[in-house]
Amino acid sequence: MKDELYNTTKQYFVSVATTLLVAAICFIFRDYLSYKITGYILLIAVSLLAVFIGLKSLLVAALLSALVLNFFFIEPYYTFHIYSTEDALLLLMFFIVAMINGALNYKIRKARQAAQLMEAKWNTMRLYDTLLDSLSHELRTPIATIMGAIGIMQDKVNPLSESDKSRLLAEMDKASHRLNHQVENLLNMSRLESGHIKPKLDWCDLEELFYKVIDSLAEELAQHEVIVTKREYMPLFKLDYGLMEQILYNLLYNAAQYSPAGTKIELGLIYKPDVAFEPSEGIPYSCMVTVEDNGNGFPEVDITKAFDKFYRVDNSKTGGTGLGLSIVKGLTEAQSGKVNLENKDSGGARFILQFAAEVMELKDISNE
């Protein structure tokens, strides 16, 4: 049962139904139970209800069970008359205990909710702090670079040499690219969160896409060797070309940033027509894309958090907003795919993307 039944009508229904059900069961055994025991049983039922329902519906349950107790269980049966003062007192106390019980339970529940709300608020605040921290760093660094460089270039008193000028220009170029990348990520994040991303599935030549992304990151990947592994003829997959481009861009960008210069980055494309890589509920994930680096991998404790928004590896050297991987996850899932991360035995991280994409074998059409 849910912790809280928000719907009030539902709450009234539950309180009345439970009380009547318990009373009905007691009624069957009326000849074997004293009405005092029945009273206790009803009290327990009302106390249990207090855990789940609101104060008003609890009042209904308490009142109803008192009436039921009186009408069906306290002699004379089927009247609201009570012979003895003792029974009248019992009924009154029954009602009071039920209400106190309920009220206390209700209070405890409210306090717990408040505490949860506080915690959630606090978590959001901490998230915002982290976001602001990393964002201001990620956005300000390139802006500072650009503004600084312009300042130096505008200085007429100490003119720059041509070589210094072109070095500054190169830095400004890099900075504006970095700025653009981060803004792109922020926009994608908000698009994902507002549900604005609707994949446009079309036949994709993933091999072509691999090289296109590698090319667009040529500068970032200059210090790495990128290896593409795949069998010779790959089929076409029905995916969103633009989204796949952004996914691979982010994964490769990350690999370039966080693995040491001189190491290899491997891109793999695997397709096995009759084999589901991770069969679940009849959906065959027959298309698998892997991105592997040979850096330090992820700390094992954090591996499940890697795709969380704003997650960053503790003490990671270069800047980052912690948005890249959560965008990868969002864009993958938008295409009904899934992404996993594991550390390789040889060190380094391996991202595994799986898609249950429609497939078109090239030999089907290339001879037409």
């Binding site: 446009k200 030549d205 072509e208 090319d215 037409e368």
Partner: protein, 227 residues
Amino acid sequence: MNNPSILVIDDESQIRKLLEISLNAAGYKTYFGASAKEGLVMAAGHGPELILLDLGLPDDDGQNVLLQLREWYQNPIIIVSVKNSEAEIVKALDNGANDFLTKPFRTQELLARIRTALRIAGAYQSDPIITFGNISVDLNARLVRKDGELLKLTSTEYQLFAVLLKNEGKALTHQYILTEVWGNGYAEQTQYLRVFIAQLRKKIEADPNRPRYILTESGVGYRFITA
């Protein structure tokens, strides 16, 4: 045509300033329109050789401006738009735009696109032989040579190549190429295009994985360039 004139229709004054400086430095005469209305007036008044049109204008949809211009304006129109708006770009190309650039772009890239668009608009193709890099195409004889060696193209490959050649420098949508090469019923059959583009690249490009001539425009289509 010593100093071709270019009309920039863009509401951002910073972008206009930047383009004024870079286009003038590159030797072009420039006109500016800060709104759809102003842009249309300037286009009619000056008849520029090329128009740079931003799709996000304050007073009217850029697509409408494009359609109105195309009622009479025959010179190249290059669209400038924000990223992630493939649908808008495809629509603009269908509406008669020659090419597109997404913001932010490099000035060098813009100048290259302008040069190509102007060169193609001014050129009258009378010579049936087209040569670029190590490729030469004889349009009369329907023969393609690479380093002087005859290339064996299937008839579909050749038709596809011919459509690309005819539209050099233009961004072509998948639908356009499919309809041109395969016919009306094939506009959505992108798998054909993927396969034949890959095959054509294998035969024409030095490194098919890093194409120099047949470029992919994500989510839009292809662009064929020779320079």
